[in-house]
Amino acid sequence: MDTVLIVEDEATIRNIVHKNLEKRDFNVLEAEDGLIAIDLMQQDMPTLALIDLALPRLGGLELCSWIRERSDMPIIVISAEGDEKTKVKALDLGADDYVTKPFGIDELLARMRAVMRRMQVPQEEETRIDMNGMVVDIKARRAFIDDEEDLKLTRTEFALLTELARNADDILSHDELLTKVWGPEYRGSSHYLHVYLGRIRNKLGTYSRRLETISGMGYILHSKDPL
């Protein structure tokens, strides 16, 4: 049974989410602030965390950083802050998704499903994509450059790079990538791509020149260094 940690200072919201998840066979942990959440995670790491940003004692963004330093557990931020800057900051700090309050339970459940889907190890035949010094090992869920340096990608980053590698040398549109990596409900949310591709570029170092932005169309991952 998957365990979901809800970190939310508003008791009413916590209670509603708790009841809904329990009803759908999740094991639920509750924390009303960041420090209690850390206490709980130190005892047992949940499968997924739902984190509000405005929390007493230790804020949601700090909590995201804390988790990301220790685990690639999926994080969905649930926040009343709807501005783009806060969303990008949360995603930069390691959140996998961001839902703005108020949202319906169905939307939350769909997003949880999408995030958890990205966690699944693919069952395809192809288990390793080798691209002249750059390797995506699908089975091991790891990617390397110079054949040995581990890029240490998070689940979402890995899923995104894998999708680009599978279609190496072809253009993938924003919506194709969003649909395949995050799910069809994310079409149009291109800021996810900006954040995640930025992070992948940083980790790729000199290989980042292989990841090309085709303005107004999408992205392309070249299997060789461009001339």
Partner: protein, 667 residues
């Protein structure tokens, strides 16, 4: 080539005359002559014509060479006069020579005639030239004397051997305030003009011992007006055969001062143009400006917005205690020169403690500024009037001549213009800051409202979407709980909307209360009903005496104050800490009141924030993680309390936490 010769020949014998002429022509002269043999003829010839030479016989029937010589002398004509005679004796010849004849020849021996004429013509020429030279010299000396005395340049003549003053022109005498009789015979190196013995010795060493002229030597001399900058140039002259020095002294004090002042003005204007804020203009004034006008103390003061107090912007050269005492000076307070200058918009010049201008300020200056001896107070004037003033103080008494006054006044005007510009700049900056802060507050407020609205809306949306979900079924108890949550969250939304409306009414000055005689406990009970859930995690201690007298109040509004204050306490104090509600009767000058206090053990309020927390939208910068409120709660509390005739404030306390107190008048 033959030499032309005009001869007046005095001879009665025609043949002798012809003989003479021939002899002269033989000697190489081209002769032009007139022969006369009596006084009338000689007289007329001398008057009517010009001659190079007179040759005269000595003994003629009615006329003699001596007579002719007398006529020539009587006319003061210097012509060579040669006697050529056949009969004259030696004694007569000597007599004639004594009378002025230049030579004497015998008619039968005329061989010497040529050389004699030659010599006498040369001698005559020399004599003429000598006379002309003398006349020219006399004329020149007369002119020089006039020029010397009329010269606007102070000039002195002294002997090079020992420095004895021979003559000094009027300007020199005026320059050092001494008359010719006083100066005459004194040695130039002993005059009281040198700033030091070394300077005098150096000057005389160069001139007297080394006999070297001086060109434009720049030095300083003591003059009637004090120490003057001068250029000295000298020329060696011969005066009656005595080697002398003519020394001309150019007073360049004014020129130097003008140049120095122009240079300093440039420095000051450059520094002032770089000063953007009043404090920077103040710093330039007490620095570069004071230095440029050679003041040892400077102070810049500006009037306050009400125009009745002068505040120091910057000061230098006064004791710290004086600056502290003058920091804020009422314009109509002490007899301070600057106060009068600012009040009347007129500059004040106090050259010394003996100055009449000193008298009105004697008491003030004697008590406050004993270190200075002269003062200038200048107003800083703009189109809007006097905005302040500058005080400049001097260690020594000052003459403040017209030029100096103009110069210092110009400096004051520059400072005034710079200060006006700086004040406008500061105001503009302040207005911009206020506008930006207001904008930031507005944006923060909108973000806060968004957050405060979304949280209860989330609960409502969460509950409704849960109830509408078709993939699960809920027990009746669960459904009841969801609906109850919707109800509760709707109330929260309503409260929020009411707060916004109250805030808006307060801003418009339309917050209404309906006071009646009531007990504070009525409001407390009403508040507790709303706070029941909120205070669960804290240790809430109500401490209200049962025998409190009634107040005039609006029970609903007062409960709103209590709810706001206690809810704030729960937000900013950790769970399980103590929150106290106290009330007691107090006596104030304005009457009898009940003072209510809400205290917590939370993060407290910084002293610098105490003044602003009751302002609109002033959400405090709480540590991260503490939920801030709408920023309206305390403002509304203040509005309600003041509408009741009470007062609300942050009460200082020892230790952590916050106490907010407010008063309500008794019924």
């Amino acid at each position: 080539m033959s030499k032309k010769l005009r001869i007046l020949l005095i001879e009665d014998n025609k043949d002798d005359a012809m003989l003479l002429i021939r002899e002269l022509r033989k000697a190489g002269y081209e002769v032009d002559y007139a022969r006369k043999q009596d006084a009338v003829g000689v007289n007329n010839a001398l008057e009517e014509d010009r001659w190079d030479l007179v040759i005269s016989d000595y003994a003629m029937p009615n006329f003699t060479g001596r007579d002719a010589l007398d006529i020539l002398k009587s006319k003061d004509i210097d012509l060579p006069f040669i006697i050529v005679s056949g009969t004259i004796g030696e004694e007569t010849a000597v007599d004639a020579m004594r009378a002025g004849a230049h030579d004497f020849l015998i008619k039968r021996n005329l061989k010497r005639l040529g050389p004699v004429i030659e010599r006498e013509l040369r001698e005559a020429q020399n004599r003429r030239e000598s006379i002309e030279d003398k006349q020219e010299l006399q004329r020149w000396e007369a002119r020089f004397g006039k020029a010397f005395h009329a010269s606007p340049i102070p000039t002195v003549i002294f002997a090079i051997d020992d420095g004895e003053v021979i003559n000094a022109n009027v300007r020199f005498q005026q320059m050092i305030d001494i008359t010719m009789p006083e100066i005459s015979g004194r040695k130039v190196q002993d005059l009281d003009i040198w700033i030091s013995d070394e300077d005098a010795a150096d000057f005389c060493e160069t001139l007297i011992k080394q006999r070297q002229g001086i060109r434009d030597r720049e030095t300083q001399l003591q003059t009637r007006t004090g120490l003057s900058d001068v250029l000295i140039s000298t020329e060696m002259i011969d005066l009656d055969g005595k080697d002398c020095v003519l020394a001309m002294i150019y007073d360049i004090t004014e020129r130097k001062r003008s140049l120095d002042r122009i240079e300093k003005m440039q420095i000051v204007t450059a520094a002032l143009s770089g000063a953007r804020l009043p404090a920077q203009v103040g710093a330039v004034t007490v620095g570069q400006v004071a230095n440029a006008v050679k003041a040892s103390g400077a102070m810049v003061m500006l009037t306050d917005d009400e125009g009745d107090t002068l505040n120091i912007v910057d000061a230098f050269g006064y004791p710290a205690e004086t600056i502290r005492r003058w920091r804020q000076t009422p314009l109509n307070g002490p007899d301070m020169p600057l106060c009068m200058t600012v009040a009347e918009g007129k500059a004040l010049w106090i050259g010394s403690r003996d100055d009449d201008a000193y008298k009105p300020f004697a008491d003030f200056l004697d008590a406050n500024d004993t270190q200075h001896a002269a003062w200038v107070a200048l107003p800083m004037t703009t189109d809007q009037g006097v905005i302040g003033g500058i005080c400049l103080s001097y260690d020594e008494a000052q003459a403040f001549d017209e030029e100096t006054r103009k110069y210092i006044t110009s400096m004051g005007e520059y400072v005034g213009q710079a200060m006006e510009r700086a004040i406008l700049y500061e105001r503009e900056q302040e207005a911009r800051r206020v506008a930006e802060e207001a904008n930031e507050l507005k944006l923060k407020f909108l973000a806060m409202i968004s957050h405060e609205l979304r949280t209860p809306l989330m609960s409502i949306k969460g509950c409704t979407s849960t109830l509408l979900a078709t993939d699960v079924t809920w027990s009746e108890e669960d459904q009841g709980q969801f609906i109850s949550s919707i109800d509760h969250e709707t109330d929260k939304l309503t409260d929020l909307v009411n707060q916004l409306l109250d805030g808006s009414r307060m801003q418009a000055g339309q917050l209404r209360i309906d006071p009646v005689e009531m007990s504070l406990m009525d409001s407390v009970r009403y508040a507790m009903a709303q706070l029941h859930n909120i205070i669960q995690k804290h240790l809430f201690i109500p401490d209200i005496p049962k025998d409190l007298p009634p107040v005039m109040g609006d029970a609903h509004r007062i409960s709103q104050v209590l709810v706001n204050l206690i809810e704030n306490a729960t937000k900013y104090a950790d769970p399980h800490t103590q929150i106290t509600l106290q009330a007691r009767e107090i006596s104030l000058d304005e009457g009898q009141f009940i003072q209510v206090e809400v205290s917590d053990e939370g993060i407290g309020i910084k002293p610098e924030e105490e003044a602003t927390i009751f302002e609109f939208f002033k959400q405090l910068n709480r540590p991260k993680g503490y939920r801030s409120g709408t920023g309206l709660g305390l403002t509304i509390c203040k509005g309600i309390v003041e509408a009741h005739g009470g007062r609300i404030w942050v009460k200082r306390r020892d230790g952590p936490g916050t106490t907010i107190a407010f008063t309500l008048p008794l019924a």
